[in-house]
Symmetry: C2
Subunit: 166 residues, 2 copies
DNA sequence: CGGGATCCACCTGGATACTG
DNA sequence: CAGTATCCAGGTGGATCCCG
């Protein structure tokens, strides 16, 4: 896929262009579990060091990960999630839910738990206002105030709403 | 990445192996918006036909999409989401939320709206029981009843919980 | 309209070795 | 420990043409 091609059209496409890579998603998952050192990622993911290095620096430059040098000589670093990185964890949580439902033939092997109580958390997506579970069959993605000219063209051709009403 | 490598370890990794591809995610997004014909995807995504064909059949074989022949001669088909495919829309919704927050430099151009009222929906992830927003900093991913031997090894080495408590 | 078949350039990951 | 450097194979996407 040619990067930066449709990045002006849709925040979903932009987000996918930024983090929609297998390795990046798995690294973010591990960061969310508290892994911090280059070596830990490499051992856990069985990823080639060069690839890991590139993925980490991409995540850093995209603002999802912060690299902290905790020692100068020799240089040692740890990686932690930024706010933007933490904000991505709900996506991973819903991926987990989908995987548990539709891609776990031998049973449940991944759960979200409270660190201190170890109680299980079951994430669901609701509307912020009503707290009602969202029925996706009744919804659609629309444009917004900042529609680009190209997006307005696409939406109009497809007879889709240009923005939400109040 | 070698496919089917760590697929026995974690439902997140399995899910990502199944649908964590740029094109597949964008196709699912379009399906969620009601696009149905090969041609529509191709025009909207500017994707090479061969690639689109492969992605669609992968999605079909993975059970997220159903291919319906609505005409025999010449053969014509439409593509629609299955239950598993619809269940993936919450993931896309949270990707949209992240993109709107962290990857929309020129403003809001993608929103989730009710098809009939055009009112805006704001998706958030909450715990199914308490309906409280999830604080991801307090959580971690744990194992589950169906942990494989390999996963038990990893969790133990990292001193992580093997499963949730009740 | 709904794709299948080809061809090719390139990119990317894997493996391995090495270094401060 | 924390990467960088190198090399290589092959997979993948884009482009194009074609067909019922």
């Amino acid at each position: 896929m040619k990067k930066n091609d449709r990045t002006d059209l849709c925040s979903i496409a932009r987000a996918i262009d930024k983090i929609g890579d297998h390795w990046s998603l798995l690294i973010l998952r591990d960061l969310g579990q508290g892994l911090t050192y280059f070596d830990e990622f490499q051992k856990n993911l069985l990823i080639a060091p060069g690839v890991l290095s590139k993925r980490l620096s991409t995540l850093v430059s995209e603002g999802l990960v912060r690299k902290e040098l905790y020692q100068d000589n020799p240089p040692r670093a740890r990686y932690v999630l930024t706010k933007a990185g933490e904000d991505f964890l709900p996506v991973l949580a819903m991926i987990m839910v989908w995987g548990n439902e539709h891609s776990s033939p031998s049973g449940l092997d991944t759960q979200l738990v409270d660190k201190s109580t170890l109680k299980k958390i079951s994430p669901i997506v609701v509307d912020a206002k009503t707290k009602e579970p969202i029925e996706f069959s009744k919804l659609t993605f629309a444009g917004g105030p900042a529609n680009s000219a190209a997006k307005i063209k696409v939406l109009t051709e497809r007879n889709m709403p240009l923005a939400a009403v109040n």
